[in-house]
């Protein structure tokens, strides 16, 4: 798979990061290299191999519907970049 500038821009946009032109060029090469490396897997025959998303053989880790104490509102808000009264404050959401 060939990585183009527009792919880098698309990914940057999804990640909400700004990149300079120079960075874009750098990432085109770096990402291309990574994908080329991963692409080696395609040399193997995986026809009868089921996709695997979990590397340990455990399932059904569930908890009971039991209340646990919350943290205080003060603690909840303390690390927020911006707050107002009892709320987290965020840039205006355009509806």
């Amino acid at each position: 798979m060939k990585i183009e500038k527009k792919d880098i821009e698309y990914i940057a946009n999804l990640s909400r990061i700004e990149l300079s032109n120079q960075e874009k060029e750098t990432f085109i090469h770096q990402l291309s290299d990574i994908l080329a490396y991963i692409d080696k897997l395609n040399q193997l025959n995986t026809q009868d191999i089921k996709p695997m998303a979990y590397s340990i053989n455990t399932t059904n880790v569930l908890r009971d519907d039991k209340l646990e104490p919350p943290i205080s509102r003060e603690d909840a808000l303390t690390n927020a970049p911006s707050t107002m009264g009892v709320f987290f404050k965020v840039p205006k959401v355009i509806e």
Partner: protein, 494 residues
Amino acid sequence: MLSVPSVAIKLLKVVNMEYEVVIGLETHAELATITKLFCGCSTKFGAEPNTHVCPICLGMPGVLPVMSKKAFEYALKAAVALNCEINRFTNFDRKSYYYPDLPKNYQISQNYYNLGVDGYMNMSVNGSIKKVRIHNVHLEEEAGKLIHPEETGADYSLVDFNRAGVPLLEIVSYPDMRTVDEVESYMQTLRKILLYTEISDCKMQEGSLRFEASISLRKKGSEKLGNRVEIKNLNSMKSVIKAIEYEAIRQSELLDRGETIDRETRLWDEVGEKSQRMRSKEESQDYRYFPEPDLLPVMIDEKWLSEIKNSIPELPLDRKQRFVKTFNLSDYDAGVLIEEKVLADFFDECVKILDRPKAFCNWITNDLLREVKDRKLDINSLLIKPKQLASLVEIIEKGTISSTIAKEVFSEMVQTGNEPQKIIEGKGLAQISDEGLIESVIDKVIAGNPSVIEDYKKGKKNALAFLVGQVMKETKGKANPKMVNEMLIKKVGV
């Protein structure tokens, strides 16, 4: 803005003439667990902002979610009740997008192995049964709540994360509906199923039940679906219907002008009763679903599944059909009874005690519902018990009290939860069937109303009703009306 009457007329034109309206619904229901999906924070509605939160539901770095067994089972129950195929291996996936109400910048949802797929729901539409296919049923987490300040020019929004992480069930239908009647029935039937299975409290005003509609139009007879438009921000069933009507007309007008329909998402404006474009297909989001590495998959074995199956009660439509068949109730009456599970349960209990289905049905659908409405009672914590209503029906049949008095006794029973016998004795309400006693009252009434007696003898028939009324008044409604009538006629002579 289109006014309502013109909408109705135009929609008829749309539906009846050239186009077929194709509608699918996405339903979100908050599950009735005590705690959130991945942490032990409370799900209780209406708490002080940001007090039901912890590092997990706030999405702080390094925290690990653990799935609630109850939430999972509720979702499974819904999937079974909606006749889905159950994926015996199911997992959770991250759905990535940025929005300030989503603390982790991804929502834990399901995409690759939904809990339930390819189900269906039967519903009753204008007296016949219609089947709507269910595409999938899956479990995910709620987002927080955004508050938009009312001050003009405010450049900020506020966030309350109490709701973030509440377990949310999503039910996606196939686009199998064609009319607003079908949509209405779909919403009502689904709501009742969720209430009967006790999966969700379905309070639309608190947002625990929400609908999104997708609508497309096609020429009648055409197989190919038109481009669909999704409508969000529908806060009530009424809004859903209005938005669909609006959208059907909007699309038909575009098509009439030879224009094409853009595949897009629109927001319903409740006040203006119109929709506005939110985003087009081109701007549509890339969610980059991938398996959630912090949660292990869930396997559903035969034993677990059969436990869930056994926990599902008789569903509303089956119950309605049973009421009609077994007890010979009208379709309408059975419909009123099953509207609320507690009422249907109440009725079932009553007929188990005494085989008078019609009488119980009348008391419940007329008198009980009126009392509940007038006195603003909570239908889920009624004081009156089925056994007591059965006693009342027996007492009426024995002739101990008249039907008028019975209404009074019933009202008292609903308010106090007291036994009917006790109320009748305590208030001295028992019917008077003592001939001597009635006769003495009749004599008194005759003596006091000579002119009425004259009128009656001259042929004024309604004078008799007046006299009966006077006797009933004297006895505070307790005299046996049949006896009063007969004895009066005898006394006054025809």
